[in-house]
């Protein structure tokens, strides 16, 4: 058979970018925006993991004598009406806010993927029923639905996560449904069946992973929304309760003092919230390029 290979001998040997790490490095180098997004993500993750250990003050300790101080070298972001250090509270809150958003997105990703895969692969009445259920969720104003869920289930962090997850499920389910649907009769799915895979295995092992690149964009956008959503719930008094540091509550509490000139109470948590959402939104393209094997040329 050797003589037949002549016209197509492989060209160059393995090139850079063949390994996963090399590929990630390439994606980061290729797009400075992605690099910036990953740097900011690293910063936020650092805050979430090490923040509570590193902050200069106890975020819950009150100090009546130093209430409502403007930003200074002692208190970078100033102090609030109870004399608590705003900087420490903003940094410590990172862990809670990221946990809520990541947990909520992971939950909706998992549930949405399962529902969407089933609907997209088998179709028929199953597809119709699932789609109508999702339409029902979408028909509510989503934030109002989340408020309703938290109000009904009770005011806890878990319930914020569940509420945020529920309102995000339709986005994932629809995306996965479409991606699975166009591939269910693809040649590689048929070939997998000939290789002795059951329908379920073909779906889970061969078809679903191909839906990942667009999912990654959705995930990163959703992480931003989820943070906003959690902060929004806390802002209106549902969800995380004072005195726990959380960006939404801090903005809500600080808003009362803007009129009297103490702008730092609301500005810094709001800024952090904005930066976090910004980071996740920028992250999408980079994540997609990393999970897409076709980018590995």
């Amino acid at each position: 058979m050797a003589d037949m290979t002549a016209p197509e001998t492989p060209r160059a040997p393995a090139h850079q970018g063949d390994t996963t790490l090399g590929h990630i490095a390439y994606v980061l180098r290729d797009n400075p925006v992605t690099l910036l997004a990953f740097a900011m993500l690293a910063f936020f993750l650092g805050c979430a993991v090490f923040g509570p250990a590193l902050v200069p003050y106890d975020p819950l300790a009150t100090h009546a004598a130093r209430a409502l101080e403007a930003p200074s070298w002692d208190h970078w972001f100033g102090t609030d009406n109870l004399g608590r250090d705003v900087f420490s509270r903003v940094i410590v809150a990172t862990r809670l806010d990221l946990t809520i958003s990541v947990a909520a997105v992971a939950l909706s990703f998992a549930l949405g993927s399962v529902l969407g895969s089933i609907a997209g692969y088998w179709g028929g009445w199953l597809d119709a029923v699932l789609n109508r259920c999702l339409d029902t969720i979408m028909a509510f104003p989503l934030f109002v639905l989340a408020m309703g869920v938290v109000a009904a289930l009770g005011n806890t962090v878990e319930n914020i996560i569940y509420a945020t997850a529920i309102i995000n499920i339709p986005f994932y389910a629809r995306l996965v449904r479409a991606e699975v649907n166009i591939r269910r009769h693809a040649g590689f799915a048929q070939a997998a069946k000939l290789a002795g895979n059951s329908d379920l295995r073909v779906l889970a092992v061969h078809i679903f992973p191909n839906a990942l690149p667009p999912m990654m964009v959705q995930v990163s956008l959703n992480l931003g929304w989820a943070i906003l959503n959690a902060a929004g719930l806390s802002f209106i008094g549902l969800g995380v309760r004072p005195p726990t540091p959380e960006w939404g509550i801090m903005v809500a509490e600080g808003a009362n003092f803007i009129v009297s000139g103490e702008w730092w109470l609301a500005l810094f948590p709001g800024l952090w919230l904005m930066l976090a959402v910004f980071t996740f939104n920028l992250l999408g393209d980079g994540l997609r390029d990393i999970v897409d094997p076709r980018k590995r040329t």
Partner: protein, 542 residues
């Protein structure tokens, strides 16, 4: 009329710059048809995109002049180019469905180009669009004016695309693989139409194709391109009977044609004696009264209308037909991806149609019937490596693991002539021929008794097709497999099959030993198919 002088085009990619076209010169005279023939990656399409100035992002004309009737197309402003495109130089693209806007009526799409180039006013546009439809011989043009592309067949869509291209009576037409994906009789109809129109209007034409036979039939002059260079230029008869360049000779040799045998498709140095094939007289597969009915809008549609045939052990049976003939449905039912509506599929004396396709993966005979799919790219999971694709059936059905598995994968790669370093690559990093080999290696991994080949070479260049066909006949001899070879290309079926079935609209209309069916066709449909196949001029190369 058109002259290209020392044109070179480069593309920027992740791995640096790629020179797609490296200094080519050619001329097209008024009313002349020039064929550009080459395999994928030869730069033939890029040349036409460059002269129309519609290169993809990252592509750039590096050197050279393109002059059309005294206009320097390289220096022309984008606004001038917009006037030239469609008005002076028109283009027909490869995939007619992709070239038409799916949500607009075809008549309106013709009007767009007429109005854009001030060939019609809003008042008389409809009339002129219908006239354009009539010019491409569309029956009942007034009714078709209101059709959407999805309501039309592939051949019809290509006629619409031609109508759009010719609506403004351009003086030069570029046809980029205009008949790829069309049935062989449709191909003939479309090419005859384009040829006649070009002649009637005194239009110059550039026909870009990978099919030397097609080019020789319709072109006055052919240039052969390879790796961005023109290697040879001549009139078709000369090119075939006396190819000067080694590459042209290889292409001419590899084109399946009357009187050629499998081995003569290969370059002389790769030819080896044909293997001995043993065909037994006991049937391996017996198909009896197979029917497949789909529910349709206006009542059930019978895709397969009760066909019966046998395949003997070690035999290679050709299944020929055009799209819609039911040949793919038949092969999918035999390979147990679809359930027949009624009828029996008796394999090795056991009715396998009795087991529903959804449960067939656990059937002990799953390993004995495998398939090589039509589109090698589509049949490989884009997220899996070549090795993973070949290993899949071994791991799932044989439960093979670890070093034993990788050794077997390496052995199979060797068998199909796939170099070992390519095993760790993803499908998009492999060429078409390499992907076809991966698909074949996966299908023969379990040493099936029956291999169904669904146009395995349809997407391949002729020289790669020649290699794959030879590989298939070698494998058949080595492993004693039976083949069901599904194809629309009679020239290929002739080379590979002992017997042939001709299907039309779900029925077998003709059958018999290949030579008999091909040389003395008894059924008019078979005769039409054979006549539609482009036949290159007799060559002395073989």
């Amino acid at each position: 009329m058109l002259s290209i002088n020392n044109l070179s085009v480069a593309f920027k990619t992740r791995k640096g710059e790629v020179n797609a076209v490296r200094g080519i010169s050619l001329n097209v005279a008024k009313g002349e048809t020039l064929g550009i023939v080459g395999e994928s990656g030869s730069g033939k399409s890029v040349t036409s995109y460059a002269l129309m100035r519609i290169l993809d992002a990252g592509g750039e004309i590096r050197t050279g002049d393109v002059t059309y009737s005294g206009i320097d197309l390289r220096a022309a402003s984008e606004k001038d180019m917009r006037d030239i495109r469609g008005r002076e130089i028109s283009m027909i693209f490869q995939n007619p469905r992709a070239a038409l806007n799916p949500i607009r009526r075809v008549g309106h799409q013709i009007e767009d180009v007429l109005i854009r180039h001030a060939q019609a006013t809003r008042q008389d546009a409809k009339e002129k669009a219908i006239a354009a439809l009539k010019a491409v011989k569309i029956n009942d043009a007034a009714a078709r004016y209101d059709a959407y592309p999805f309501e039309l067949s592939g051949g019809m869509c290509q006629r619409i695309v031609i109508a759009i291209a010719l609506a403004c009576k351009p003086r030069l037409l570029i046809a980029d693989e205009p008949t790829t994906g069309l049935d062989i009789t449709t191909q003939k109809a479309v090419m005859d139409l384009v040829g006649d129109l070009a002649k009637a209007r005194g239009m110059g034409m550039i026909l870009i194709t990978h099919d030397l036979g097609l080019a020789s039939q319709y072109c006055d002059r052919i240039v052969v391109m390879k790796d961005g260079l023109i290697v040879e230029e001549d009139v078709p008869a000369q090119l075939f009977t006396n190819p000067q360049h080694a590459y042209t000779r290889k292409l001419v040799d590899a084109t399946p044609r009357l009187g050629a045998s499998l081995r003569t498709l290969l370059p002389p140095e790769a030819r080896r004696p044909e293997p001995k094939l043993r065909v037994q007289s006991n049937p391996l597969l017996e198909v009896r009264d197979l029917v497949k009915t789909y529910p349709g809008k206006s009542g059930p549609v019978q895709a397969v209308k009760g066909i019966s045939f046998d395949i003997n052990a070690g035999q290679s049976l050709g299944l020929v037909g055009e799209s819609g003939s039911g040949k793919s449905t038949t092969s999918e039912m035999i390979v147990r991806l679809q359930d027949p509506s009624s009828g029996n599929i008796i394999f090795d004396r056991q009715d396998i149609a009795a087991t529903p396709s959804a449960r067939f993966m656990r059937h002990p005979m799953r390993r004995d019937i495998q398939m090589v799919f039509q589109d090698a790219t589509d049949s490989l999971n884009p997220r899996g490596t070549a090795a993973a694709a070949i290993a899949e059936p071994l791991a799932r059905i044989d439960g093979m693991r670890g070093s034993k598995l990788s050794a077997r994968v390496a052995e199979l790669a060797e068998l199909v002539g796939l170099p070992q370093p390519l095993l760790s690559r993803f499908p998009h990093q492999l060429s078409g021929g390499q992907k076809a080999r991966v698909g074949i290696a996966r299908a023969i991994a379990l040493e099936p008794k029956l291999l169904i080949l669904d146009e395995p070479t349809a997407a391949l260049d002729v020289s790669i097709q020649a290699i794959v066909l030879n590989l298939l006949v070698d494998l058949r001899a080595q492993m004693g497999m039976s083949y069901l070879f599904v194809s629309h290309d009679l020239n290929v079926v002739r080379l590979l099959c002992d017997e042939v079935l001709v299907m039309k609209q779900g029925d077998i209309v003709d059958r018999g030993p290949t030579a008999q069916v091909m040389d003395t066709p008894s059924h008019p449909y078979t005769r039409a198919l054979i006549e539609a196949a482009p036949q290159p001029p007799k060559s002395v190369a073989a």
